[in-house]
């Protein structure tokens, strides 16, 4: 197999970083990441710790986006594995999830105790409207990556119509659209 980005990413770096350090670093960046973890991951891994170069970070992220799951979760697995094998991957991923998990439990306790208070209901109502807007904006920003051609837009509209407007099951819509979308993208580059 020829040397590729992936080989470079999986190869052990010159630095020695153990599972505990990975756990702590990913805990820290997960809990700092109000409003999105990725900027903090970049700051921590590249600028503060120097575990990855800027380019390695971008390549790791690009690969992470191809795989299911949270992008930052996939980054944690790849970075952890690179420095400390299976234990490192597990430690980095556990670090990313444990702190937010406990925080969510705390939020759940508060929601159940106080979620019905008028004041909290009002706050939650405003927060829900904003949260919907945040997701819509993310979707709109992602359209910048589309080619200026009607075909990708057709798949955007079909997925939105099927899952968003008609509420058809995800598997049926994606299973029906994905083969055509991939075949179209394959033909375009050929």
């Amino acid at each position: 197999m020829p040397q590729s980005h992936v080989d470079n990413l999986a190869a052990p770096g010159p630095l020695k970083v153990g599972p505990l350090q990975l756990f702590l670093a990913f805990s820290q960046l997960a809990l700092s990441g109000f409003g999105g973890v990725l900027p903090w991951a970049q700051r921590t891994l590249v600028e503060n710790k120097g575990w990855l170069t800027q380019r390695e970070f971008v390549e790791t992220l690009a690969l992470g986006q191809l795989l299911p799951g949270p992008n930052i979760g996939n980054v944690s697995v790849m970075v952890g594995f690179r420095f400390a094998g299976y234990a490192g991957a597990a430690a980095a991923f556990a670090g990313l999830v444990t702190g937010p998990f406990l925080l969510m439990i705390a939020a759940g306790v508060l929601y159940q105790s106080y979620g019905n208070l008028t004041l909290v209901q009002q706050a939650l109502s405003g927060m829900s409207s904003v949260a919907a807007g945040l997701v819509l904006a993310t979707g709109v920003k992602m359209t910048a990556s589309l080619k200026r051609h009607w075909r990708p837009w057709l798949f955007v509209v079909l997925a939105l119509a099927g899952v968003g407007a008609l509420r058809w099951p995800f598997l049926a819509v994606v299973g029906g659209l994905a083969p055509f979308a991939i075949a179209a993208a394959w033909r375009e580059q050929a």
Partner: protein, 175 residues
């Protein structure tokens, strides 16, 4: 409210998690359909509120499913929902990393990425659409959602400030 079947929930989340290419927002519409419409385990309003709380907290977005699990069945629900939604992608990524199974420059990888890209965008917009429909009760809620979109597109504001502004707008009765 129907009885909550944790093993069915775990299986559903585990299957969906393997399709969450680009993050959890892609599968939120189906999670909502499963919890609210198919099983009546919570209302659309509660789902939108839990999602908003998850967005307000730090950490990967998928963690809002911990909150959903807690709401449904306490500690066991939170643990099951979290493990079911994070373990399958974790193992898959570990496998892909271990065996160098993916080459980002191979033609097939590029076709998959190029083909799934637009669908991912459509699904992300679906999530926003569904959340807006259950969160925005009148034109003022819709205006707040649209203002959020505009601010996110035109400024580099940290989203946490917008969530805080939403809470203030709700408390002061603007929405």
């Amino acid at each position: 409210m129907d009885r909550i079947d944790l093993s069915a929930l775990a299986l559903h989340l585990a299957l969906l998690s393997l399709m969450a290419i680009g993050g959890v927002n892609v599968i939120v519409p189906d999670i909502q359909r499963y919890l609210v419409e198919a099983n009546h385990w919570m209302s659309a309003k509660q789902f939108a509120e839990l999602f908003a709380l998850g967005q307000a907290a730090p950490g990967p977005n998928v963690i809002f499913l911990t909150l959903v699990g807690w709401h449904l069945a306490g500690w066991s629900g939170a643990t099951v929902a979290t493990l079911a939604s994070v373990c399958p992608p974790f193992l898959l990524t570990l496998g892909a990393t271990r065996f160098h199974a993916q080459n980002p420059d191979a033609p097939l990888s590029r076709a998959i990425r190029g083909g799934l890209g637009p669908i991912t965008i459509g699904l992300t917009l679906s999530t926003g659409w569904i959340l807006a429909r259950s969160a925005d009760h009148d034109w003022r809620g819709a205006a707040l959602t649209l203002a959020t979109v505009a601010l996110m597109l035109r400024t580099k504001l940290n989203p946490i400030w917008l969530i805080a502004a939403g809470a203030v707008a709700g408390i002061t009765g603007i929405v």
